[in-house]
Amino acid sequence: MPTKRIDLLICCGSGCVSAGALRIKDRFIEELKKNEIYDEVNIIETGCMGPCDFGPVLMVYPEGIFYIKVTPEDAEEIVNEHFIKGRPVKRLMQQEKDKTHATKNEIPFYQKQVKVALENCGYLNPEKIEEYIALGGYEALANVLNNKPEDAIEIIKRSGLRGRGGAGFPSGMKWEFVNKAKGSPKYVVCNADEGDPGAFMDRSLLEGDPHRVLEGMMIAAYSVGASEGYFYIRAEYPLAITRIKLAIEQAKEYGLMGNNILGTDFSFDAFVRTGAGAFVCGEETALISSIMGQRGQPIQKPPYPANEGLWKKPTLVNNVETLGNIAPIFNKGPEWFSNMGTETSKGTKVFALTGDVKNTGLVEVPMGITVKDLIYEVGGGIVGDKKFKAVQLGGPSGGCLTNDHLDVKIDYESLKEKGAMMGSGGVIVMNDSNCMVNIAKFFLEFSVDESCGKCAPCRIGLKQMYEILDKITKGKGKPSDIDELVTLGNSIKQLSLCGLGQTAPNPVLSTIKYFREEYEEHINNQACPTKVCLDLMHYVINKDICIGCSLCARRCPTSCISGSRQDKFTIAQVDCVKCGNCMEVCPVKAITKESGMHPDMVKHLKKLEQELLEYQ
C-alpha cells in the first residue's frame, strides 16, 4: 500500500451523518478520482468530534486543519485548493470576530476540555483495530493480565473512579464485591441503554472508539473473574451495535479475545444484546432481566447483581463511559487520574450539551468545572439575544439549576445538594423563552410513558402528578396544587422500587423550588409569563402598526382574522387555535404574543360553564 500524504477525517457521528457527512464523503471520492490523487488521500470515517453544531465537520492531517459546516459542493474547492495547491480554504474554518481558527486546538470550544474517555473519538478510524493498537490500545490489558486481579482492583480504587451512569458508585468497590462474591461463572455487563432525551454520550463513545470500551470490559472481566461479557445496547443505536460487533470480531482475529488471551489463563468472550428502547432497562436489575429474555422490570435489591445478577450469578454492571475510562487509568497511572477533579469526584465527565446554547455537542470536561464555564466557555453562551434561564442536568431524572447556581461545581455531591444530579450527562440549556411548568410537564410525560408499571407509586403517582401539571398549564389549577405536587413527589421518591420512580419527580420538585412564582402565575392569574402554554396566552394585532395587507387573514387556518384596509385587522379570540401563522407572515410585525387569557375568551368560558350548569 503506498503511503498517503493526506488523512481526511470525516466526522461520522450521528449528528454529522444526518447533516450529510456521507454525501460529502462520496463527493470527495469523486473529486479525488477526477484529479487523480485518490490513492494519495486516506479517507477515514471517525466517531463524533464533538462540535455537532458546526457539523458536518472535517479534519485534514498532517496540518490538522479543521473545517466546519461543509457541504458536498465544498469538496471540489477543498480538493483543488487545499489538497492540490496546499492552500487551506479559510472560508470553511471557524471564524470568530476577526479571528480565524485553522486547527482544532485554536477553537475555544476545545480549550477547556480534557479528553480522557473521548481521547481517540474523532481521531481514529473506529472500524480499524490497528489504529487503536497504534495509539497504545490493548497494552493496558496486556499489563493487567501479567498481574493479579486484586492489583487491578487496587489501581481502580486508588484512581477514585466512580460509576458514570448516574449514581456515582465507586467502581473499585463494585469490582471488589463481584471479585469476592461466591458463584461461577461470573459476568460483566456493559450498560449502553442510554435513554434520556438529549443524551448521546454512550452512543458517541461506542461509535467513535469501540475498542476502548471493549478493552475496559476485558480488564474488568479479568479483575472480577468473569469470562463472559454482554453489551446491552438499545436498538435505536444501529451504528453503535455494528461497530462494537466489528470490534469484537477484530479482537478475536488478532487473538485478543478467546481462549488463553496473550498466553495467559484468561479466556473471554463478549456478546451484544439489543434492547427495545425502554428507559427502565437502564436500571441494572431490569437490564439483567432483559438480557435473560424476560420482561424488563426491576427487582428489589438486595440481593445486588454483584451477588445474584445474570442467571443468578455474580455480575458486574458498568456504564459505557466508566469502561471507557479504564484503559487510560492503567496506561497513565491512577494518580494521574485522581489529580483531576474534586475531592470526591475524580477524573472527567462527558456531557451532551444541547438546548439553547451556541456550541451544542459532545464535550468532556474535568469534574469540578463550574456550571458557568460549561455553558459559557465550552458551550459559547446562549444563542441569539436571549438570556440564560435554567439548565437541566441529568435528564428526566435530574433537576434544574438557575442563574444563582452558575458558580456551582459540577460533581456528584454538589449537584445532589442543589436538587439536580449528574445523571449520565445530558445537559439541556434553556433560555428565558422556556416555560418551566411546561418543561417539568415534558419530562414527567416521558417518565409516565417509561414507567414499567410494576410498583404503584411510580405507575399511579406519576400519572397523578402529570394530570395536575396538565391542569395548571390549561389554566385550571388550584392554589393547593403546588403543595399537592410536592407531597406527591416526595412520597413517590421514597416509595418507588427503582431509580426511575425515585428520581422522576425531580424535574417538578426542582422547578417548584426555583420557579415557584411561575407556577403561581399560571394558577392564580391564568397566565403563562413566557407565553408558551397555549391556553394561557393569546395573539393580538396592534392596530397602530397594522397596514391592513390581509396576509394574516389569508393564512389563518380557522378564518378567525377579519378586517379591512381602513379598519385594520382583528383576531376573533374564541376561534383562534394559536398556530402562530399570522405572526410569522406579518410584514410589519404588528402581531405579538401576550401573556394570559384574552377577556373575550374568559367571558366565553364563563358562558359555556353557565350553559352546562343550566343543561344539568
Binding site: 500500500m1 496546499g86 489504529e131 496486556a142
Partner: protein
Amino acid sequence: MKTLADLKAIREKAQHEMKLRNSNVRIKVIVGMGTSGIAAGAKDVMKTFIDEVATRALIDVVVSQTGEKGLSSMEPVVDVIEEGKPRYCYGNINSEIAKRIVVEHIVNGNPVKEFLISTE
C-alpha cells in the same frame, strides 16, 4: 497474538500508517503545488516522494504540499524541513532528483547541493 511483543510489533506497523496524524515527525517534505509548479511536473515529483518514502518505510517522514512560492522559473520547488536544522529549498526537481533527495538527504543526511536554491 500471544505476547506483549507481538502487540508491540503490530503497533509499530500500524503507527506507520497513522503517521500523518502524529505530530512527532522528524522530516517534512513540502512540494510546491501552485499552478506553475503543477505545470512543471510537481504532481509526478509528489508521487515519487510518496512512493519512495513508502518503499523505504520511513516512519518519521511526512510528504505534504504548499502553494505558489513565487519562484516560477525554478519549479517544481521542494522544501525539506527538519526540526532544529536549516530549511533546505530545492529547485528544478524531477522524479530522478526526488529519488536522490530521499536517499542522500533524508536517509543519509547529506543535502543534494547542486539543486539547492537556498538554505534558511
